[in-house]
């Protein structure tokens, strides 16, 4: 792990960081990955089935019915948006 790699990762994560922070993170990541990488010793290729397969957890789906009244939350939700125009959230132009 080095500074350039951390910068590349921060780009993928869409987070601006300084060169200095990237330098520090590179050292910390080495230590953290060295520790958590121990999981590789634990797994010896056993057939596990689907991870978590025996858990009782099943996704519950709501009926696709009885929607709430249209526009009920629109005002409150739009009030949280940094920029709006009419009943739309406004963003910068994406296509040239």
């Amino acid at each position: 792990m080095d500074r350039e790699k951390v910068i590349a990762l921060s780009k993928l994560a869409r987070v601006d960081i300084s060169q200095e922070e990237a330098e520090n993170l590179a050292g910390e990541f080495e230590a953290i990955l060295g520790y958590v990488g121990e999981v590789k010793q634990a797994y010896k290729g056993e057939d596990m089935g689907t991870p978590q397969s025996d858990m009782a957890l099943k996704n519950i789906l709501r009926e696709d019915a009885e929607p709430h009244e249209s526009g009920l939350y629109t005002k409150n939700l739009l009030a949280q948006a940094p920029e709006t125009e009419g009943e739309y959230i406004k963003v910068k132009k994406i296509l040239g």
Partner: protein
């Protein structure tokens, strides 16, 4: 004024019913204690202005003879649960001016049970931390020794209860964030089975790990809040019902101790001594305490961090400066993302998102994330097997007592290692409770210590039973 230190949720409810004091007087006592103490502790980010008015409404209902489990009881909330019309920030600058458009299910259930939300408590940003030092709004201090941390990430909730500002609070627990601050502040903290309490309206961190639970003074109080909060919810597809994990066996008072894990390096001598005393106390209460082997347990911290990092990087992708929250203007659309997220997220959040991106990247996905999921299954299977033999697993809650502010903030790995005993419950989904078990005296200050009981999936009843016996509650 009412002394909140000697009051519990159950005793407050008795007193309210008997009209020994009113809900308004109880609320005023909380607000006054916050005014007196919180400039030193910083447990609260905000006390809600509507709290007193709601106490008056509760008094009206009490007069009408209405009886609800939490009627007139002020409850503090960790700053990651939505209360309609109130600000909620997850301790982050990126949500500094965000107002919740809905109630979280947990809050709706509290309100339905008559509770009054008094305000929101401080936390590590997005629940990422074990000390509440990572809040964007400054750290919370431990009320027992203000030079020390209260634990985290629900440190504000723990400090609020431990200092007598409120008699009950909710936290969330992704890797120990309820149980560890409970231990550091001398409280009871319960993390229910994964899926037991709805997370609808909880700001997500690690979605396969997160659970909401109570921070209180007694096991009976934990039970009152747990009974109010639990239940299947159409708004959270991962919630479970009472029959999801059928009871396989009766409670036989058998406790298992993963001996090599408890004796491991890094566990302080005081914790080890307190643990021996705890074992003896359980034996004296008629419990059988036996050693157990959990071969893969020592990998649970690694598994936990890989999963939590991965899930956090994915969950926090929603903060883009477009739909809500902070927006920092850049040169173009994508530059808006970089600038908003770079400025809005604190250092620990940036660290975890970037590392999470790494363990999920195509070149390393199998090596880290996929392997972690497989080892997670190994650990879970081992736990389920052990629970065929024992009712409970006993460990310390933490390897040390509360540390000094700033002591571990320079080494993230050292901070992560503090979660060694609490993460297995999140990794496996099992319910776990931290109980106050004694003190370690440093400079004439008695720092609280905690022990942790873990039960099989869906067996909160065993935790509550043993917890009450351990603390001598009826």
């Amino acid at each position: 004024m009412i002394d909140l230190n000697s009051l519990t949720i159950s005793s407050a409810r008795e007193a309210l019913k008997a009209r020994k004091f009113s809900a308004r007087e109880l609320m005023e006592a909380s607000i006054q204690t916050i005014k007196d103490k919180d400039s030193d502790i910083h447990a609260f980010l905000e006390v809600f202005e509507d709290a007193l008015g709601l106490a008056d409404e509760a008094d009206k209902k009490i007069k009408e003879g209405v009886d609800l489990p939490l009627l007139g009881v002020p409850i503090a909330l960790k700053d990651n649960m939505l209360v309609s019309g109130h600000k909620v920030s997850a301790g982050s600058k990126i949500l500094e001016n965000f107002t919740a458009p809905i109630d979280s299910t947990a809050v709706r259930k509290l309100k339905d049970a008559g509770a009054i939300i008094i305000g929101r408590t401080n936390m590590d940003e997005f629940a990422m931390g074990s000390s509440t030092e990572n809040s964007s709004y400054g750290p919370t201090k431990n009320p027992i020794d203000p030079t020390r941390v209260p634990g985290g990430s629900s440190g504000g909730s723990a400090a609020a209860v431990a200092s007598g500002m409120v008699i009950g609070a909710l936290g969330s627990d992704t890797g120990g964030s309820i149980r560890q601050p409970a231990a550091f502040c001398g409280l009871v903290g319960l993390k229910p089975t994964y899926g037991r309490v709805s997370r609808s309206g909880l700001i997500a961190y690690g979605s396969s790990l997160d659970q909401i639970g109570p921070l209180v003074k007694t096991v009976s109080d934990a039970e009152i809040l747990y009974d109010v909060l639990k239940g299947q919810d159409p708004m959270d597809s991962t919630t479970i019902g009472d029959q999801s994990y059928p009871k396989k066996k009766d409670f036989k008072k058998i406790i298992g101790v993963p001996r090599s894990f408890v004796e491991s390096e890094g566990v302080s001598p005081e914790i080890k001594k307190n643990f021996q005393e705890t074992e003896k106390r359980f034996r004296d209460l008629g419990y059988e305490v036996r050693d157990i082997e959990l071969e893969h347990l020592r990998f649970s911290l690694s598994v936990y961090y890989i999963v939590a990092l991965a899930e956090s990087s994915s969950n926090l992708a929603r903060f883009d400066g477009v739909k809500y929250g902070l927006h920092v203007d850049g040169d173009n659309g994508i530059d808006d993302y970089f600038k908003t997220r770079g400025a809005g997220f604190g250092q620990e959040v940036r660290r975890r998102i970037i590392l999470g991106t790494y363990v999920l990247s195509s070149g390393y996905y199998d090596e880290y994330y996929n392997t972690a999921l497989k080892v997670r299954k190994l650990i879970t299977d081992e736990f389920r097997k052990v629970f065929m033999e024992v009712d409970l697993i006993l460990t310390p809650t933490t390897p040390t007592s509360a540390w000094k502010m700033g002591e571990k903030s320079t080494s993230p790995l050292e901070m992560y290692l503090e979660d060694i005993f609490t993460v297995p419950a999140n990794t496996t989904g099992c319910p776990a409770i931290s109980l106050p078990s004694g003190h370690e005296e440093i400079n004439q200050i008695k720092l609280p210590l905690g022990i942790e009981l873990t039960a099989d999936l869906g067996r909160e009843d065993n935790l509550l039973k043993a917890g009450k016996e351990f603390l001598g509650e009826k």
